[in-house]
Amino acid sequence: MLQETTFAGKKADKQSISGADLLLKSLEKEKVEVIFGYPGGAVLPIYDKIYDSKIKHILPRHEQGGIHAAEGYARISGKPGVVIATSGPGATNLVTGLADAMMDSLPLVVFTGQVATSVIGSDAFQEADILGITTPITKYNCQVRDIKDIPRIIKEAFYIATTGRPGPVLIDFPKDIATTVVEVNDDPEISLPGYQPTLQPNYLQIRKLTEAISSAKKPLILAGAGILHSKATAELKEYAEQQNIPVVHTLLGLGGFPQDHELFVGFGGMHGCYAANRALYECDLLLNIGARFDDRLTGNLEHFAPNATVAHIDIDPAEIGKNVPTKIPVVADAKEALKQLIAQDGKQPDNKEWLETINSWNKEYPYHYNKEDQENLKPQKVLEMIHEKTKGEAIVVTDVGQHQMWAAQYYPLNKADRWVTSGGLGTMGFGLPASIGAQIAAPDSTVVLVSGDGGFQMCTQELQVIREHNLPIKMVILNNMALGMVRQWQELFYQERYAHSLIPGQPDFVKLADAYGIKGYQINTNEEAENILNEVLHNDEPVVLDFRIDPKELVYPMIAPGKGLHEMEGVKP
């Protein structure tokens, strides 16, 4: 807060202050606890103020690591992740993280330095048109042109990032703005006449939906990450139980509904479980809550839920009807809509048979792998062991690829906000830095990073941050000496022509960890896995675990590209 100065006994809300000071004061006002930032020329004035600030600052070793860490922090804490980077290369290094956060609706407030206003447009040293570059991958972006606007712009940025459908907001901060001193009102009003997210559902739509549910024979809820963003897990459970409707999750929604619940079917999509996909195909009423019908979930749209009346609750009206024609649209916050649905207390649908059928699918077609094979270390087995030893209570952060799908399949979650993964953008390199943010957001939780040998090497430099802050992250590398998912597709669809997916040489991950002062183990057998996991999972030290898994293992079941959800392959051993 600004200290209040008084003039002749009269309280004043203005005082002389520099742009950089205003920025820091505004962050304090927003109760920012941690900044993921990397200094540089254009942000020197801001860093000079950070030097005196009480806000914790985490220095990643690459800006991309910083923004992915902020994403992990945002996903677990529910608060916006705050990032600072310098102009030019510092700013452009954030691009992947911004696109990732945009796709997965994560609230970020990102500050980039910019060259001084007097030289903007002259191709000055470390100048990049970061507004032009990031317009399509941010929820909003703007440049501070007048120092007096700083408090308002920052207040608006936090408001935009965290309300409605969350997303990244970028503020570009010219260097001279940071050093200018003015008298300014530090308690501005937000002025966003074009931004009013609809939170409350339309009553008539809720009525219509309630009636549709009551008369359905095969109703199904598809619960997306919107459930997590609006903190509606309790309402989802209450509603599903009240109406006795089975629940399928999207990949990003995992944890929104307890997976040990009898109404939980599984997660749907390309590598989801058979029962979930079959239920999506066969249902006669599909209630989508906070999911966006991503192509990895729907498979071929022509065969998606062919017999279903589709209802869709989403805070973003543009998602409704975008991919799947929707009969009952409900624009609302998931929590508010669910509350009203619960209040309707509609007649339970007559779906006993449907529930039995789904159960029978789940019994007949569970996830499977070759448990007989004792020669090779199976990734599924490793994850089952980790699940058992952490009692399913760990925060699981993944990178992108085969290991991500195995983690989704073999680490069932019963609670919300324990799952951090890059869904929409599918960003390799996301996992390691995101686990840093997750551990910072939840210092007392066990954080398990599940990564592949490819993705782990895309942001390896962040190991130093883990060491520096002694973050006890358990880094699991499911190492198959390959870009496994690429290899899998080449095996299945490109006649086993493994173009550049078999990694010819790899660092010694144990020595690599050691170079950063982190303990590392190479694990080749089930027995080693058992012993080492027992030793390391519950201590306060970070650890790198290089599991040498069966390189031939594929992710199954699977829906081949272009196929419908009813055409899953590899559903039985």
Binding site: N141, C142, L192, P193, G194
Partner: protein, 172 residues
Amino acid sequence: MIKRIISLTVLNRPGVLNRITNLFSKRNYNIESISVGLSELEGVSRITCVVQVENESIIEQITKQLNKQIDVLKVVDITDQAIVSRELALIKVPTLPNNRHEIYSLIEPFRASVVDVSKDSVVIQITGESEKIEAFIELVKPFGIKELARTGTTAFPRGMQLQSNSQKISIV
């Protein structure tokens, strides 16, 4: 393909036009024309986009995506309303002593006007709906068009919306 006219009011902030055009390219929508200018409110601009789309659901997506932009105040697909829509074109036509009269005779029925005359050419200004301008251009084409500049369509709903009003009715 269906042609739709979308009228937007936006906050006149830096980058807002970039945001709109960016959205069209990001989502793979085709803009036929776009015109931007100030509106009756200070700090608010009006943008008129003419788009060609394959079906109704795409136009719904376009308006929703536009609406989602923070700086966008209002988006209306005004195609089916009674609207006033105008476009302006400047056409430079070469003239010879023997065809000047013929060119002038075309101008009158279209309520176009000659805004510049030189020794060997005239510049004709014409305003109206796109179709009228198209028709006029076709008529003067045989004389050879040296230069042509067209604004996009700008439009808004008429003051009175009669029940039976068809979108095609235009009282010029």
